[in-house]
């Protein structure tokens, strides 16, 4: 019988280690073309991922398509995924957003010819946080979520349009009927605040404010 991790910091550390090992195991099996591993990952993550894509896509079929596309993409790339360094959940979350926005047709990059730049980011595993960083964030999520509610309303509105509609700063300004410079300044200030709060709550960043 396996001992269950206890409560407190040690317990959290132990649970994080378990999560890391579980995802490493799934990735190894994916790389070995084990379809059951993909289905296990799907069972674990699809409800949360659908929660994200359903907020972006108005049609449930588009939301489901975006999630499926991300899993097919992961299956294709599993052999190249850096098992020790990068978080699979982080990759899936970032990519389902991208696919859902693509489906929605509101990705500004499509119009501006920036796809190669954006594609290269999301294909690049070197930007991905580690599973340890994700686990730490998840353990403090409730506290961090308060940060978003502390933002002034105009910053919250601008940020929501950026995250959930994939709008450019220009389009956000038009949508909100605000000057471009004000919206740009709001977004930057909002991100600075969030970054600072994360550095405090997670206790490890050097990001200045």
């Amino acid at each position: 019988m396996t001992a269950r991790p206890g409560k407190g910091r040690e317990g959290a550390r132990s649970r994080a280690k378990d999560t890391h090992v579980q995802y490493q195991d799934i990735l190894e099996r994916l790389a070995a073309r084990d379809k059951r591993a993909l289905l296990e990952l799907h069972a674990r993550m699809a409800p949360g991922l659908l929660g994200i894509t359903s907020r972006i896509a108005s049609d449930p079929r588009d939301a489901a398509w975006a999630v499926e596309e991300a899993f097919v993409h992961l299956w294709r790339e599993a052999a190249h995924f850096p098992r020790d360094a990068a978080s699979v959940p982080a990759w899936l979350v970032l990519n389902v957003r991208r696919y859902a926005l693509q489906r929605r047709g509101s990705v500004r990059a499509l119009q501006q010819g920036l796809i190669p730049v954006r594609e290269s980011i999301f294909e690049s595993y070197s930007w991905l946080p580690s599973q340890g960083a994700i686990d730490q964030l998840e353990s403090r999520r409730e506290l961090l979520s308060k940060t978003l509610r502390q933002l002034p309303k105009h910053q919250q509105d601008a940020l929501a349009l950026a995250v959930w509609e994939g709008l450019s700063v220009q389009s956000i300004a038009e949508r909100l009927g605000e000057p471009l410079a004000k919206v740009e300044s709001s977004l930057r200030a909002g991100m600075r605040f969030i970054r600072h709060r994360m550095s405090v709550v997670l206790g490890k960043w050097s990001a200045p404010i």
């Binding site: 379809k35 993909l38 289905l39 799907h42 069972a43 699809a46 409800p47 949360g48 659908l50 929660g51 994200i52 907020r55 939301a63 489901a64 999630v67 499926e68 899993f71 097919v72 299956w75 294709r76 982080a90 979350v93 970032l94 957003r97 926005l101 990705v107 500004r108 990059a109 501006q112 010819g113 920036l114 730049v117 954006r118 290269s120 980011i121 070197s126 930007w127 991905l128 946080p129 960083a133 994700i134 964030l137 999520r141 961090l144 979520s145 940020l159 950026a162 995250v163 709008l167 450019s168 700063v169 220009q170 977004l187 930057r188 991100m191 969030i194 970054r195 994360m198 960043w205 990001a207």
Partner: protein, 75 residues
């Protein structure tokens, strides 16, 4: 381009918010392999992950696993 100018831009770049000019400035700088900015980009990715999580779940269609398996078999 000096790095401190870019500090406010990482998350906005990842979200696709920036103007084409600013986006190219960021990607050009990243292409230089600047270690400091690569680390900040990793931190920004964590922030975007946090912003993108809704906390809501939606039950997948019972046929979604079968659909996924069909896609794998086609490959």
């Amino acid at each position: 381009m000096v790095c401190p100018y870019l500090e406010d831009l990482w998350e906005l770049y990842l979200l696709g918010v920036l103007s084409a000019e600013d986006a190219h400035t960021v990607s050009d700088h990243l292409a230089t392999g600047c270690a400091r900015c690569c680390e900040q980009m990793r931190e920004a990715t964590l922030t975007v992950y946090f912003l993108t999580q809704t906390g809501h779940t939606v039950r997948p269609d019972p046929k979604s696993k079968a659909s996924l398996l069909r896609r794998l078999q086609k490959r």
